[in-house]
């Protein structure tokens, strides 16, 4: 009802200024966030804040967690966790591999962390390997494991390689059998 076309009464200089202001923003935009906004065009600032899935303190989950957005774990998870940003809260426990762009641990992780940016806060308890690009460990954090700055370098997903080059895998198997 308000979409009726009206003649632009504004001076032509104003839209030009707007264009100039908008263009520098576009290349700097976060690539990872873009699909989220395009999926939900009516997204307001407030609803984007709530794009975090929370495993609350009382909840225990056995199985795989996957999110295209963020996951906050305050409960108990047995299984792998995969999200853009994963936060393991104080008192929370994860047994399995945690994948993400950013992984912040204030609770316990037994298994493995694979993330671009890893943050272990002073209450963190990390038993296992950490594959990272950038790591921060606060004083007081427990860590017992292997730290490798190999995130994004090695093909850590053999399944993905097999899918990409399906011919490579059977050949190897066949040659091994002969």
């Amino acid at each position: 009802m308000f979409t009726r076309n009206e003649k632009p009464t504004e001076p032509t200089a104003k839209p030009q200024v707007r264009d100039k202001m908008e263009t520098p923003v576009a290349p700097g935009g976060d690539i990872g966030r873009k699909p989220a906004t395009s999926q939900t065009p009516t997204n307001s600032g407030a609803s984007r804040m709530s794009a975090v899935s929370v495993i609350s303190k009382a909840l225990k989950i056995t199985g795989q967690l996957e999110s295209t957005e963020d996951i906050q774990i305050d409960g108990n998870v047995e299984g792998d966790v995969r999200a853009v940003s994963v936060t393991v809260g104080n008192g929370a426990k994860v047994k399995g591999t945690v994948y993400g762009e950013t992984v912040e641990v204030a609770g316990t992780v037994e298994g493995k962390i694979e993330a671009k940016k890893v943050v272990l806060t002073n209450t963190a308890h990390m038993a296992g390997d950490v594959v990272h690009q950038e790591i921060t460990i606060a004083s007081g954090a427990f860590i017992d494991g292997h730290c490798r700055p190999d995130f994004g370098k090695t093909a850590t997903k053999p399944a993905a390689v097999a899918q990409k080059y399906p011919s490579a895998m059977p050949e190897k198997v066949a040659s091994g059998a002969q």
Binding site: V119, E134, I137, S139, I143, D144, G145, H146, C147
Partner: protein, 104 residues
């Protein structure tokens, strides 16, 4: 310098050391390089290090580049530090009983 560096006080390294370092407190400054083992109570690394660190308290600054193993009780890693290796946790009395660098 190459060889064994042993002191009961605080040791700062700005240059290059290849060998063993035993000190109460050890600081590897930015631009410094150590290839070998360090045994100390407090270790702070700002430079490049390759080898093993045995210390209850370890601080790795953002400029640190570590390869090897860091035996610790309490470790702090600043954002930006490059860590490639194991970080085995040990209780404090493990270091108290450690007067020499273990073999292997």
């Amino acid at each position: 310098m190459t060889g064994v560096l042993e002191t009961t006080g605080e040791l700062h390294v700005h240059g290059t050391v290849v060998g063993q370092i035993i000190a109460d407190s050890f600081v590897l400054a930015i631009g410094g390089f150590v290839d070998g083992d360090i045994l100390a109570r407090d270790v702070r690394i700002g430079g490049k290090f390759n080898g093993r660190i045995f210390a209850p308290n370890v601080v790795l600054d953002s400029s640190a580049e570590i390869t090897g193993r860091v035996f610790h009780t309490n470790v702090t890693v600043a954002s930006g530090a490059r860590i490639d290796g194991r970080m085995p946790w040990r209780p404090v009395n493990f270091f108290a009983s450690l007067s020499h660098l273990p073999e292997e």
